[in-house]
């Protein structure tokens, strides 16, 4: 998905760059002082309508796919509690005591079944980004002190998933990670 977005961006960027180059060259070739609009700030209804419709379609397609609505009507097969702290993740099948955070040594989750992560932080803001075995982000949420974010996901690919902190949280932010297995 990320590469599809990169491709979309590159195509649009190339089209925009091309338009600017063509417009610039057309100006360089022009030798008539009288050509050109006296006031370019005239109404440009059609341009804006096209832009508005394109963005409207994009919004209609994408908003229902927002993570808040994913698997909202299903019951999770597994619940994992996550407490993030500088610079560790504690994960447990049971609720975590914030005064004495203890988690499981290993977490195993079922493939193709709904898993709910209940994510919070014990100190500062952290990120909870799940990377697939091929090292692409598949899902993420934030870990915020005083709040619990519910992240629901179905893992299709079995293997070892890595969780990285994606919200800058201090000196050892870059090494804050954990793993779990999907079978």
């Amino acid at each position: 998905m990320q590469y599809a977005l990169l491709l979309l961006f590159l195509v649009l960027a190339a089209v925009i760059a091309l338009v600017f180059i063509i417009v610039y060259l057309s100006s360089k070739k022009s030798d008539d002082e009288l050509k050109g609009m006296a006031n370019p700030l005239q109404k440009r209804f059609w341009f804006l309508l096209i832009l508005f419709v394109c963005l409207g379609i994009f919004a209609l397609i994408t908003i229902p796919r927002s993570p808040y609505y994913l698997f909202a009507k299903e019951q999770p097969a597994k619940v994992v509690h996550v407490a993030a702290g500088q610079f560790f993740f504690t994960m447990s099948y049971k609720a975590i005591n914030p005064d004495k955070p203890e988690g499981e040594m290993t977490i195993e989750l079922p493939a193709n079944q709904l898993v709910e992560f209940r994510v919070t932080s014990l100190d500062v803001n952290h990120g909870f980004a799940i990377y697939s075995p091929s090292k692409q982000i598949v899902a993420q949420t934030q870990a915020m002190p005083g709040y619990v974010n519910l992240l629901r996901w179905k893992f299709e690919e079995p293997g070892t998933y890595t969780v990285h902190c994606l919200e800058y949280c201090g000196m050892a932010h870059q090494v804050m990670q954990t793993t779990f297995t999907v079978k």
Partner: protein, 480 residues
């Protein structure tokens, strides 16, 4: 005297911005080299470098836009030399405090200083209050400046005139509001709103700091305030640059002055509204934020691009298409800057889509898009103004040399540096990592490539800056 003072102050603003810009680029290159493994900073030093790089860049391009707008505004209304000088002094004091707190005090909570990280002190204890007081000093200076410019406008134009409301219903109103005045006022009002948010934010943070934990803040509220301030000021600084373009692009190009139409008036009035709501996209991954606000964030982010980008980009394109234009370095920089801005805007719209943000949030896609519309957009708007100003008002005139070389380096360096960010973003490489875990196999190479291309960009900036710098120094030292 006052107009001369504003001119001299503008030259000082330009000198200060250029010096800090070059230093901040060097800090940026050091960060990418460290991520690539070519240099080895300890993580605390890296993050202090990251903090000062971010906050300096935001600050200097904001004041560059303000200084440019203040200078051009003198054509229409009398502005306050005292307020301009006060802002200059407060900015110098604030910047020195910021650099001391980060480079000596080792404060490294990031330029967003996301609560409660500034209070988890892993640096000199004095650095946290110094960083926050530095922001307060900057905030006071800028608030006075913004209010003085708004007051100056409102002395000449009524509220409906300054927002060009008379253009809504009348094609040829008695009093015409120049586009520059309209966009400046819209931008200043947006800046005022985000500076007020910054005041509330600082008061809440000081309350917790000085009560020694007796008063505790709410992390979600503070995050909303932080991004209302941070996102909005970053957006408004672009609009300040656009106000200058609406005024100078036709003038430098030898074309008739642009005039406000009902269409432009409505578009920019709507921009004020949408921009103030777009910041919610920074909180998409906080699922406890009410869902309605998340949707508002996506729609406002889309709609904010319609009036400002839609109108500006199409206007510039039709203004240039098959039109004989006196091309100079300044309007070329404006033109390329508009292209960079709109391309960065595409990257931003992709990321401001909630379902995409789920995959791209806090990866290198984020610095990719905001560096696009800053390094290849807003910076070029301001450089175009700096160049025009320094040539127009300096005694050191003469043909601009090496323009093609400068622009080639700028484009090559800028595009290469940004490409390394975009590709890494698509590969899910996290942002704000001092070094990369081994599993991010391409991250080091991309960081090194980014550093190499950023160095090419820096060479271009050196070439641009040296002549502008000399002319502005000359202006400050000699009475002209």
């Amino acid at each position: 005297m006052e107009a001369k003072g504003i001119k001299k102050n503008t030259a000082i603003w330009i000198i200060a911005v250029l010096v800090l810009f070059v230093l901040s680029i060097i800090l940026g290159i050091i960060m990418r080299l460290n991520q690539g493994g070519a240099v080895h900073l300890d993580p605390g030093t890296f993050y202090a470098d990251m903090t000062i790089h971010g906050i300096t860049m935001i600050g200097i391009w904001f004041v560059a836009g303000m200084a440019g707008v203040n200078f051009i505004m003198e054509r229409y209304v009398k502005t306050s030399y005292r307020a301009n000088t006060f802002a200059l002094v407060m900015t110098v004091i604030g910047v020195v405090m910021l650099w001391v707190s980060t480079l000596i005090g080792d404060f490294h909570a990031g330029w967003t200083f996301l609560y409660p990280l500034p209070f988890k002190i892993a640096w000199s204890a004095w650095a946290t209050p110094m960083f926050l007081w530095a922001l307060a000093v900057l905030g006071v200076g800028w608030l006075v400046w913004v209010l003085s410019l708004m007051t100056a406008l409102l002395k000449k134009y009524s509220i409906s005139q300054v927002f060009a409301w008379q253009h809504f219903r009348n094609k040829n109103p008695e009093v015409e509001t120049p586009p520059f005045i309209l966009i400046s006022m819209i931008s200043l009002l947006g800046v005022l709103a985000c500076l007020i948010a910054a005041v509330v934010l600082l008061v809440l943070l000081f309350a917790e700091y000085y009560s020694h934990g007796a008063f505790v803040n709410d992390a979600l509220l503070i995050k909303n305030l932080t991004y209302f301030f941070g996102h909005t000021i970053a957006n408004e600084m672009l609009y300040l640059g656009l106000a200058i373009i609406y005024e100078l692009f036709p003038e430098i190009s030898g074309r008739p002055k642009w005039k406000t139409t009902w269409y432009v008036a409505i578009a920019w009035n709507l921009t004020l509204f949408f921009v103030l709501l777009a910041f919610f996209h920074h909180l998409y991954m906080d699922f406890v934020q009410p869902e309605g606000l998340q949707i508002v964030g996506q729609l406002a982010s889309y709609l904010a691009s319609l009036p400002s980008a839609g109108v500006t980009v199409f206007s510039v394109i039709v203004a240039v298409y098959r039109t004989k234009i006196k091309w100079s370095l300044s309007n070329l920089l404006f033109f390329i800057g508009i292209a960079g801005w709109v391309i960065g805007g595409v990257g931003a719209v992709i990321d401001a889509t909630i379902s995409n943000n789920f995959l791209l949030h806090n990866t290198l896609w984020v610095p990719a898009h905001f560096h696009s519309y800053n390094a290849m957009g807003n910076v070029l708007f301001s450089l175009g103004f700096f160049h025009w100003f320094s040539v127009e008002y300096s005694k050191r005139k003469g043909p601009e040399r090496l323009s093609s070389l400068k622009l080639s380096f700028l484009l090559l360096g800028g595009i290469g540096f940004l490409a390394a960010f975009y590709v890494a973003g698509a590969e899910s490489v996290p942002r704000r990592y001092s070094s990369y875990p081994v599993e991010f196999t391409s991250a080091k190479l991309l960081a090194t490539l980014g550093a190499v291309f950023a160095t090419v960009y820096l060479i271009a900036i050196f070439l641009f800056v040296s002549s502008i710098f000399k002319r502005c120094i000359n202006m400050v030292l000699h009475r002209s």
